[in-house]
Amino acid sequence: MIIEISNLVKRFGKHTVLDGVSLSVEPGEVLVIFGPSGSGKSTLLRCINGLEGANGGKIVVDGIGLDHNKEHIRQVRAECGMVFQQFNLFPHLSVLENICLPQRAVRKRNPEEAQAVAKKLLERVGLLEKKDAFPAQLSGGQQQRVAIARALAMNPKIMLFDEPTSALDPEMIGEVLDVMKKLAKEGMTMLVVTHEMGFAREVAKRLIFLEQGKIVEEGRPEEILICPKSKRTAEFLGRVL
């Protein structure tokens, strides 16, 4: 297991966002997490790479336990690439620098090495010709593809996607999903929070329905999408499909 979560609890003040979530992920698995807003999906992803500290339970990522040790948290983060809803590219850096700077700072690569990696990845997401542009000069879809390239440049073992297409205009969703599908086929371990059920059906090995901080149902996409066991899952799917 590359990710092992047991009985994870996260509270914001009095509000319990994650209420005893347990989950194991195999290497190469593509997991889609869906559920109504406020169900804790994003918080779950953010706990896995230590952006949120848990209030209870245990998380082990690639053999490293997430505790209060800052060095452990950093090691886990370097193994988990994260893609955000709002892209979060660095606006003061060119596309190429967005991808090179973290490699130099965290992976200690020299500038030539970092550039070579960055160019290869930009080619992979189809944006090599934009390498000298600044983020604000790109469309949302292009920004998100750069953000994926930036995360991949750190050679993560796991990729976390937090609603990667929710902030995009409909015509740009496809280009981002295509990059993600390619990544899934190459065997990347992926945890994806999304409501793109077409994507889920095509590439997910497992679907998880989260509601009020609890896993209500999980299973293979064809099981859950076609005949969900829980009434709540069925209702929710009825609204998003």
Binding site: R77, Q86, F87, P102
Partner: protein, 235 residues
């Protein structure tokens, strides 16, 4: 009669212009001192201000509290009093010249204002930037150095420019500890020749020329350091 008055008036005007010219010639060589005072003390203020500004948002309660006290005290005590304090207090112990004492006093005094400006700049960077940097595995120090500070320092150029202009004007306060800068030189001229209005008019115009020149420079800098999409909240 009428013609005579006209001649008298033009004589008077010529005389006045000559006086102003003399004052200008007397004061111009001192202008570099005021500029030097401003640049050195503001440079010190920026260095201290960045440092204290970062301390202001520290999670460590002792660092946060003491930096807040630093800012509150320095902003709550008149700069003139701070200048006296440093020159007559610290200065007498350490044998500081009035120039060094002046630079220290203004630099430290203004660092409190700059710290607040820097803090505002840092806090206006969206949370997503912090999260992106951390999620890539950067340390907090790397995140501040490569991601947060470069963006916030560009954002604070305009408010800092206001502080800079105020700082230039406040260098006139060091005249009270015997530093011979523009205001002090103006007083010298006045006490030698007893032309009050004209002297202070020229002194005022020289400050005005300096501050207007600076504002121009700032507009140019803002254009040069402008970054696409920076400061606009990402949607």
């Amino acid at each position: 009669m009428g013609a005579q008055l006209l001649i008298l008036e033009s004589d008077w005007l010529a005389g006045q212009l000559k006086v102003l010219w003399q004052i200008l010639l007397y004061l111009l060589p001192v202008v570099p001192v005021t500029i030097e005072l401003t640049l050195l003390s503001f440079g010190l203020a920026i260095l201290l201000g960045i440092f204290v500004g970062i301390a202001r948002i520290s999670h460590h309660p002792l660092i946060e509290k003491s930096s807040k006290a630093y800012v509150d005290i320095l902003r709550g005590v008149p700069l003139l009093v701070q200048i006296f304090f440093i020159y007559f207090g610290l200065g007498k112990v350490l044998h500081l010249s009035s120039f060094v004492a002046g630079v220290l006093a203004i630099g430290i005094g203004y660092s409190a204002y700059l710290a607040e400006t820097v803090r505002g700049g840092i806090q206006s960077i969206p949370k997503g930037q912090y999260e992106a940097a951390l999620s890539l595995g950067m340390t907090r120090a790397q995140m501040m150095r490569y991601i947060i500070l470069p963006q916030s320092l560009r954002l604070v150029v305009p408010p800092m420019a206001n502080d800079f202009i105020a700082c230039l004007k406040d260098t006139s306060l060091v005249s009270v500890i015997g530093m011979r800068e523009l205001t002090r030189a103006g007083r010298e001229f006045y006490s030698q020749y007893f032309v009050d209005f004209q002297t202070w008019l020229v002194v005022g115009l020289l400050y005005l020329a300096l501050t207007l020149g600076l504002s121009r420079l700032v507009v140019w800098m803002e254009r040069k350091f402008k970054v696409h999409g920076l400061g606009e909240k990402s949607t």
